[in-house]
Amino acid sequence: MSNTGTEDTGTMKHPAHKVCWSCKGPVEASALFCDTCNAIQAPGQLDHFKRFGLERSFVVDIDAVEATYLKQQQKLHPDRFASKSPREQALSSQQAASLNEAFETLKNPVARAHYMLRLAGVEPEGGGGHTVNDPELLMEAMEMREALDDADNRMTVDAMIKDTRKQARACENNLADAFAKDAFDTAKKLTTRLRYLMKMTEEARAKKSRLAAA
């Protein structure tokens, strides 16, 4: 490799390193700060799991992820760069936004499942005009909705919330199995189911507060 060819482009042929924009020296591609001059780096295209130092898996220890998230925000948030140069402020904003997106995705089981499906090249059902192709699930959802409409006291709704939550938890366990086996078709189906269950819980909760207000 010739030493005249290293232009200041920010990326090097060797994927593990890039040029630090501040001291122009080498810095690891995934580093948050330059180990030589301490300058904040651009967030780069890390996947959400890697951003938290995790292997790709549906099973996530959210408390541990949150601890990492808070620790990282302490260092990266724009509030830490209020007296720095505009460029450092912009990079900090990008870093904080990437971190927020990663955390929001991993935190929510449906978002996490959608994300894992997309990483595997599978487009999840529902949303964006995609139709859901699971008559059994649609029927089940319709029945749940009717039962919710008929419910006229908080106890009944509470029982329903409890039940959908239980089902959601079981569904999450099955999803974890499916993702672990790379069974993406099963995972896709279960993801749609989980999304429905979450939506029903939400609607039940809204109904409960309507009943409470009445």
Partner: protein
């Protein structure tokens, strides 16, 4: 090898001490404003010259001379009411549709200017007719901020140019931008816009170091906000917020005023009120409200149209008048708890903010809802400014604590049929960057309208319109073939920038969402210049400071590299780099920005060969399988 100066990542040394200016916290309220300063994490409010009141009423009197702000302006209500402007915060960033909903509640004339072609993309902001002047709410707010700045400068005996300013969590994008513009007009650089409830929690929480979930119930003069915050490991996270931007203590005053008018009518008086009468009556009503905080009944004399009547208002009368308003706040609170999937008993503490929380019925409603006595050992009128001051200190001097805020309202785009497609959901942590892909629906479609809206409703016309712009120059393609990516960026102040890009060709357009003031951008620039005599110098000074900060960073970075990879430094490079550093340092001592920038570029050129050999060395190490981490 020289000893390295060690800093935590992100904590490279601050600029020179003399560049570390003092920053204050400002609570720019609907009814009252307060300015505070924090030193060593001990915040205190700044009082007037006599050391008396911390509160500056957000009232401006536009007489023949320079505007008068505060208590002195309020005194003019009895003599020259038509030139007194109050509660202007309610109009910040607001357009015609909002004014309709506020009709009759504002004690002055508002007009909405005709929209002309060269105006910006956002909705048109209203203007006020005050005496013989036409004013925008931004200008009125700037006058209030100027008065607060003067108070701070007199009290601290030094120039104050930076501030953290608080806004209601529920403030939409237009109102936030308008607030920032008002600060610019007043010659204040906004370090950060912070949500009022967050600031209040900051003032309460940090000394106690108490981890857990807190609710902040903020009922001010004109706005109601409720926020849920989680405090853990030195980080304040806003979990959910809600509120009503047009509900507050002013409504209590209106209720009392209407009650008094009704009592007079029962007594046979017919009152046709002009603007001046209305303002005086509201002032009386406010006194009644304040009296009822400690007394069970208040005697009041009303003197209108030459008829003087006296009435007795009891606390239970008052509570009946405001019962509906109070239950609106508790309903919104329950909604926010629901949103966050939290039960009232999960909340560890409730913080009260805003003068209206002094009303016993409000306190009782909050205590009943959360089944606990709310915290109120900090003055509810001062708590927000105190928190803002703490945040101002944290931003200029560093801090162990961090605020993580969220978007108060969902942001989306208009799609076919006037349906809103949400891009960023409410309560998403900021800063946030999110994109969504859209496509054309007609063959050969060459442009696409991008309509940005804010709100929770399904239909566009039920949400607030923030901006409209067209992405043009889309090459001719079949319907559905174009891939248009619309990117939303919300920064740490909660301000939105939207860009649209056709992915196959790279055609791109970007707008910062800004409200328009019924005057074009040139007029706005002139206004900024007129109001700040030193505007140009200020801007040049800022650029100069920036160049110095950047140069300093540059030198530190190169020196750190020289220390780290000393072995790779040839004697020639060592000399030329050190020479360039010396020249840059000399340039930094002067005040010519171009000279500094040229010297900075010279340093970059001088250090390039060294940077390249560092890079090569690292790659060689990597290629020979040597672990980079092991070398360091």
């Amino acid at each position: 090898m020289a000893l390295l100066q060690i800093h935590e990542p992100g904590e490279t040394p601050l600029p020179h001490e003399d560049e570390r200016q003092i920053a204050v916290g400002i609570d720019l309220g609907t009814t009252n404003s307060v300015v505070a300063i924090s030193r060593d994490e001990k915040p205190e409010v700044l009082r007037d010259k006599s050391g008396g009141n911390a509160i500056v009423p957000s009232v401006v009197y536009y007489g023949e001379d320079t505007p008068v702000v505060g208590e002195a302006a309020r005194d003019h209500i009895n003599t020259d009411a038509s030139r007194v402007v109050s509660s202007v915060k309610r109009l910040m960033g607001r357009g015609i549709e909002d004014v309709k909903s506020l009709a009759g509640t504002l004690p002055y004339d508002v007009e909405v200017p005709e929209k002309s072609d060269d105006d910006g993309a956002g909705p048109m902001m209203v203007r006020l007719n005050v005496g013989n002047r036409v004013l925008t709410p931004v200008e009125v707010s700037a006058d209030i901020l100027r008065a607060l700045r003067t108070r701070a400068e007199e009290s601290l005996d030094q120039p104050v140019e930076k501030a953290v300013i608080t806004v209601p969590a529920y403030f939409d994008d237009g109102a936030r931008t308008a607030t920032k513009d008002a600060a610019t007009l007043a010659g204040i650089e906004v370090l950060r816009l912070v949500n009022e409830p967050t600031a209040a929690a900051l003032a309460y929480g940090l000394d106690n170091g108490a981890e857990g979930l807190y609710a902040v119930y903020d009922l001010g003069g004109g706005t109601f906000d409720i926020s849920l915050l989680k405090m853990q490991k030195g980080v304040f996270q806003v979990k959910a917020t809600g509120g009503d931007a047009a509900l507050g203590g002013d409504d209590f005053d209106h209720a009392i005023a209407e009650h008094l008018l009704a009592l007079r009518k029962d007594g046979g008086a017919t009152d046709a009120l002009d603007a001046s009468d209305a303002k005086r009556l509201l002032k009386t009503a406010r006194k009644v409200k304040e009296g009822l905080t400690d007394s069970d009944a208040v005697e009041v004399a009303v003197d209108l149209n030459g008829t003087k009547t006296t009435h007795s208002v009891t606390r239970s009368d008052f509570e009946a008048m405001i019962a509906k308003l109070v239950s609106r706040t508790t309903a919104i609170t329950e909604q926010v708890l629901d949103d966050a999937d939290v039960l009232p008993e999960d909340v560890k503490g409730v913080v009260l903010v805003g003068g209206s929380t002094r009303v016993p019925a409000v306190r009782k409603a909050v205590a009943d809802l959360f089944e606990q006595e709310p915290l109120s050992n900090i003055d509810p009128d001062e708590v927000v400014a105190l928190g803002a001051a703490l945040q101002a200190e944290a931003l200029t001097g560093g801090s162990d604590n961090l605020l993580l805020d969220v978007t108060p309202l969902s942001l989306g785009l208009e799609t076919m049929g006037g349906i809103v497609e949400k891009v960023i959901d409410r309560n998403t942590p900021i800063p946030v960057a999110k994109g969504q892909e859209f496509t054309t629906y007609q063959d050969g479609q060459s442009a696409m309208m991008i309509h940005v809206v804010q709100g929770e409703r399904e239909m566009v016309d039920q949400c607030r319109s923030l901006a409209r712009f067209a992405l043009t120059g889309i090459p001719s393609m079949a319907a559905g073939a174009a891939r248009i990516r619309v990117q939303f960026n919300v920064d740490a102040d909660g301000l939105l920038t939207v860009s649209a890009r056709e992915e196959t060709t790279g055609v791109e357009q970007e707008v910062a969402v800004k409200p328009t003031y019924g005057i074009n951008e040139v007029d706005m620039a002139n206004m900024l210049r007129d109001s700040m005599v030193h505007a140009r110098e200020d801007m040049l000074m800022r650029l100069l400071t920036e160049a110095r900060v950047e140069a300093k960073r540059n030198i530190l970075a190169v020196q750190a590299a020289m220390d780290a990879d000393h072995a790779l430094l040839t004697p020639e490079d060592d000399k030329s780099i050190n020479d360039a550093i010396a020249k840059l340092e000399a340039a930094m001592g002067g005040d010519d920005r171009d000279v500094i920038n040229d010297a900075a570029e010279a340093l970059e050129n001088a250090s390039r060969p060294f940077a390249e050999s560092r890079m090569d060395s690292r790659i060689r190490q990597a290629l020979t399988g040597q672990n980079v981490d092991a070398v360091n």
